[in-house]
């Protein structure tokens, strides 16, 4: 047994069934669900909280991402929100006392054409205006930061320049989930794993609790922090969501003995590369174009993504693919998250995390907890579900996975 597992043994685990009633019930024990519970308990003193999961802690998309933390988004509201989250990540080890393997690497976003160079320049200016540290850099600086790059892009994708996001970072995904799980458990939150929610309890228009495999639980507020299967939960409450579920694949190679310092993304080729603490090269790209609930990796994806990454980094051709994984993502139709009220009393939601949810875990949890506790969270106000009816959709073109 390793040291990390030993720290989990003395946690106040709940045995037996959940209580019949809680102030807040959160569906989904992933990063967002647990972070919300953690901040409800530690910042607002709301400890009569239960987090339910159909599987084990962090078994969904929290365990199936590429662990990148960045705030270089394309619209002001998003930059402000993700920058807050990025700063919370920088302090998370001090706050929770758990080592999340946070490592600041810097992110390079390559431009291979005049039009994408302009996009990256716009991104840098927009980020600076909203307090995120992003600069536009030229090919020489890119080569200094990342000597492995082929600036000619195999002759087809020459590098014109890039936006460089100084505070881009990575953290170990399951450590983050467990940091919040530990903190929440110690603060008195109940976490029940392997307890699928099978329906919602309704009183007229109001959601009053959940039906689970271990009986009914009534709740003052029910929060859905479900990933790809969120539409099922929302349907129980009669809420229509602008969410389509897509599979997102990624893979790691065997360990590369040399350091690969930054995170590198390409706007035209649509892929990103970084190095894990074990030395493996982690490669990902956009989500599958068609909607699917199937968590399957495809050979076509591995082939296409390998080809793209080798174009820019010829050394990758010597490595072998070790492991691949697929998450099913709740992709919103305007590519921005959806947080807060649903229009149904007693039912709140945190969804639309698509391929950008991991970096938002601290701020998403903190703001949603604040909204539950105080009724107001200005930072996430623009991200409400009501934005579609108000013609205020938050179309954000700036995630590597969404173009």
């Amino acid at each position: 047994m390793n040291e990390f597992v030993e720290t989990l043994l003395d946690l106040p685990w709940q045995v037996g069934d959940p209580k019949p009633a809680y102030d807040v019930v959160i569906i989904g024990a992933g990063g967002h669900g647990l972070a919300t519970a953690y901040y409800l308990a530690t910042r607002h003193g709301i400890t009569n909280v239960c987090v339910l999961d159909s599987n084990f802690i962090g078994s969904g998309n929290s365990g199936r991402n590429t662990t990148i933390i960045r705030s270089n988004y394309g619209i002001p509201e998003s930059v402000a929100f993700y920058q807050h989250s990025l700063e919370m990540y920088q302090r998370l080890e001090d706050e929770t006392g758990c080592w999340i393997m946070h490592s600041q690497k810097g992110q390079i976003w390559l431009a291979h054409s005049v039009s994408t160079a302009r996009t990256e320049q716009t991104r840098a200016l927009m980020n600076q205006a909203m307090g995120a540290k992003t600069d536009y850099i030229g090919p020489k600086e890119i080569k200094d930061l990342c000597p492995q790059i082929d600036l000619s892009g195999g002759g087809r994708y020459p590098v014109h320049g890039a936006s460089y996001h100084h505070e881009g970072a990575t953290a170990r995904h399951d450590r983050v989930v467990w940091a919040y799980a530990q903190g929440a458990l110690r603060a008195g939150v109940h976490v029940h794993q392997h307890t699928p929610v099978t329906g919602l309890l309704m009183d007229g228009d109001r959601v009053t609790g959940v039906q689970t495999s271990k009986g009914n639980i009534s709740a003052g507020t029910v929060i859905s922090a479900v990933g790809g299967n969120v539409t099922t939960v929302a349907n129980w409450a009669g809420v229509r969501l602008p969410i389509r579920t897509h599979a997102l694949q990624a893979f790691v190679t065997n360990a590369h003995a040399q350091e690969f310092a930054p995170i590198v993304s390409s706007n035209d080729l649509v892929f990103y590369v970084s190095q894990t603490p074990r030395g493996q090269m982690l490669i990902g790209a956009e989500y599958d174009r068609f909607a699917s609930y199937r968590q399957a990796t495809s050979f076509a994806y591995l082939q296409a993504c390998s080809k793209k990454s080798i174009t820019m980094f010829p050394f990758l051709s010597k490595l072998r693919i070790m492991r691949s994984w697929t998450g099913i993502c709740d992709v919103s139709t305007d590519f921005s998250p959806i947080m807060g009220d649903t229009g149904v009393p007693g039912f709140m939601i945190s969804t639309g995390w698509g391929t950008w949810g991991f970096k938002a875990i601290p701020a998403g949890g903190e703001q949603l907890a604040q909204l539950v506790a105080t009724g107001s969270a200005p930072l996430i106000e623009p991200f409400g579900l009501d934005r579609f009816a108000k013609e205020a959709a938050m179309a954000d073109p700036s995630s590597a996975g969404t173009r």
């Binding site: 299967n229 539409t231 099922t232 139709t333």
Partner: protein, 81 residues
């Protein structure tokens, strides 16, 4: 590898096709005209199971066709009715 039946070209590899989304269906329970527009423009049924969709045979005959697919297995089913 997944093979998909094109009505014109027969069975071809999945990668030749492009997804064209499901037929948007706005529930009858939404009666307000503005609300129906919002639903049509943004909301998704996002069915986990059998859906009726449009697909485009991009690297083949370049024609659109209707297909029945199970989104939990990505299996294409015969259009019997």
């Amino acid at each position: 590898m997944l093979w998909v039946e094109c009505p014109n070209c027969g069975s071809r590899p999945f990668e030749e096709y492009r997804y064209g989304n499901v037929f948007p269906v706005t529930p009858d329970t939404i009666t307000d005209a503005d609300a129906r527009n919002v639903d049509y423009a943004w909301m998704q049924d996002n069915i986990a199971g059998v859906t009726l969709e449009r697909w485009f045979h991009e690297s083949g005959c370049r024609r659109w066709f209707t297909a029945k697919r199970d989104t939990t297995s990505d299996e294409f089913l015969p259009l019997d009715d």
